[in-house]
């Protein structure tokens, strides 16, 4: 619950997200779009430097990635689309304008399903997804004489930038965050962008207003900028909702303005760029329109992977996994696909044992596997342990060849070395002890060495049994079958009583 939802106002939020597309070349020229570690002004050519007489050419992959994103966001794709010039006097684009899309974008009218804890999922409208170019990076400085100036690096100028405009359908800062998390997940699933907010290839501006509950007209809205993480977006929106609530409660009106988020301070009014909204859009004369037939759109749709929501539901139904586990497993496409490969490696088994194996695989992947990956700073794609080997190890546990305790050690060794489970089990000497004579011999040793707990157990202290089980496991280095051990132990305790 937000602080405002308890009041008489309803919070109305719409997000604009800019996403750098992962392409080799820039949007309209041949310069490399991968400028992350580049020396300033080394990914620059006459086109992205705006020299007179140059001709931009549309990057085909950027168009495909935008259409693919739009399809994943349930948008419709018009047959005819064009680019426009957005004029503004700011040195982050040397042309004096940005090539963007105004009235005929590549896509429009979609939706994204968003879920906030303990509430039913809600569809948030997507107004449009369009394509434009990123701007150069400006760094503001002051020299010794106190004179301010700006330094310009053109490497980012002209990198393909996709804008996803959302409808003002979000009703809380939490929901805004959930929307962003979901959007990022989809962008990564379909592989169009790294979508990393901290690295600046996923950026978010927010519009927020309040209105009396039950009202249909929107209140004056404030645009909030400079939020560099999901947490910052949520905090900035919460701050702004509270600020507007206080102002309205005090009888003041909200000024329509742009405010910047300053960590530790709040949202701060930014000096307005007077007349900056007069962008004088007009059709880009250097770029012919983009037309897409239904067949072309379907060709772009075809390689779309199963998206997270659909996959999560399928995992729940097909493998009988709880929602929480299905959710974690489908968090990234790589993890979901790894999981499916583990299951596929054990194909041929019946439905019941398939579900059982899926539960075991899910436990390993969410538990020890995730922990070891995290500790070594690896992604699942970098893991040395193959899906088939993980499947084989689960089978060893199922068949009673190794104990659950041993499996942990085996898994860790497999994770480090990438070796097959059977070899690891042999090498570590972890074959399960299942012979009744062997178990009995270990239990006898443990009982002889622990007279006090034995006496306590016989006097009715049940917890003493746990201790004795632990001692026997230690004695056998975890190789005992837990059920067989407990059975033998209790039998012997009873028989000597």
């Amino acid at each position: 619950m937000t602080s405002t939802s308890a009041t008489k106002y309803e919070t109305v939020i719409g997000l604009e997200v800019h996403v750098q597309l992962q392409t080799r070349r820039k949007m309209f020229c041949g310069c490399s779009a991968d400028y992350a570690d580049a020396v300033p002004n080394t990914h620059v050519c006459p086109v992205c430097m705006a020299l007179p007489g140059v001709l931009p050419v549309i990057n085909e992959k950027a168009v495909e990635s935008t259409v693919m994103t739009a399809l994943a966001l349930n948008c419709s794709i018009p047959a005819y689309s064009k680019f426009d010039r957005k004029n503004y006097p700011y040195p982050d684009l040397l042309k004096g304008y940005q090539i963007s899309q105004y009235d005929l974008p590549l896509s429009e009218r979609g939706w994204l399903e968003v879920e906030v804890e303990e509430q039913p999922p809600r569809r948030i409208g997507i107004t449009r997804v369009h394509l434009e170019e990123d701007t150069a990076r400006l760094t503001h400085k002051t020299d010794e004489a106190g004179e301010s100036y700006s330094l310009l690096d053109l490497n980012r100028s002209g990198v393909p930038l996709m804008e996803i405009v959302g409808e003002p359908d979000l009703r809380s800062p939490e929901e805004a965050r959930a929307y962003l998390v979901k959007l990022r997940q989809i962008l990564r699933y379909i592989g169009v962008s790294k979508a990393n907010m901290e690295e600046g290839n996923f950026r978010c501006d927010a519009n927020i207003s309040l209105r009396p509950r039950g009202a249909t007209a929107y209140g004056a809205r404030v645009e909030v900028k400079n939020m560099n993480s999901f947490r910052a977006v949520e905090n900035a929106l919460r701050f702004e909702a509270e600020r507007q609530t206080r102002a309205l409660d005090a009888g003041a009106s909200i000024t329509q303005e742009t405010r910047g988020w300053v960590e530790g301070e709040g949202t701060v009014s930014q000096r307005s760029k007077e007349g900056a909204d007069d962008y004088r859009y007009f059709p880009e004369p250097d770029l012919p329109p983009v037309t897409l037939t239904a067949a072309q759109v379907e060709a772009i749709r075809a390689p779309l992977p199963e998206l997270p929501d659909a996959r999560r539901r399928r995992f729940e139904q097909e493998f009988g996994l709880p929602a929480y586990e299905a959710n974690l497993l489908t968090e990234s496409r790589a993890r979901a696909e790894y999981f499916e490969r583990v299951i596929a490696a054990g194909a041929g088994s019946g439905d019941a044992s398939r579900r059982k194996r899926a539960r075991a695989a899910a436990n390993w992947m969410i538990g020890d596997f995730a922990r070891l990956l995290h500790a070594s700073g690896l992604e699942i794609d970098d893991a040395r342990i193959s899906p088939a080997d993980l499947c084989a190890m689960i089978a060893l546990v199922e068949d009673g060849a190794i104990s659950g305790t041993s499996a942990k050690a085996v898994f860790e060794e497999m994770f480090q070395s990438g070796r097959a489970p059977a070899a690891v089990v042999r090498e570590l000497g972890l074959e399960q002890i299942s012979g009744s004579d062997e178990i009995a011999a270990i239990v006898d040793r443990v009982l002889a060495a622990n007279e006090k707990p034995v006496a306590e157990y016989r006097a009715g202290k049940q917890e003493a049994l746990k201790f004795l089980v632990g001692q026997a496991m230690r004695e056998s280095r975890g190789r005992l079958n837990a059920a067989a051990l407990t059975e033998t132990l209790t039998a012997k305790l009873r028989e000597k009583a």
């Binding site: 490399s32 085909e60 168009v63 100036y149 053109l154 760029k273 004088r280």
Partner: protein, 95 residues
């Protein structure tokens, strides 16, 4: 079609140009003349003609996603009036 003084001042502001009173009047009349030429178009019968943003019979002119070498940094910097340690230097701008 005639342009008023306020429109000239607005355009000058957007273009970041300072104008004297004489220039305002000069551009007001010149810009009005230019727009006047476009009035000719109003006399053309465009019934049944689809509006278009493009006069060339082209569509879907794309480049494959392959990068090419860029200019050497020195070439880029040479074109700027003021540079600073590999960057182009410009007068301070409002964020």
């Amino acid at each position: 079609m005639s342009i008023d003084r306020e429109t000239v001042l607005h355009i000058a502001k957007l273009a970041r140009i300072a104008l004297t009173d004489d220039e305002i009047e000069l551009f007001r009349s010149q810009l009005s003349d230019i727009l006047g030429h476009f009035d000719v178009l109003d006399g053309i019968d465009t019934d049944g003609i689809e509006p278009t943003a493009q006069i060339l019979p082209l569509e879907n002119v794309f480049a494959p996603d392959v990068s090419r070498p860029s200019l050497p940094q020195a070439e880029v910097l040479k074109l700027a009036p003021l540079t600073d340690d590999g960057y182009l230097r410009v007068r301070a701008v409002l964020e």
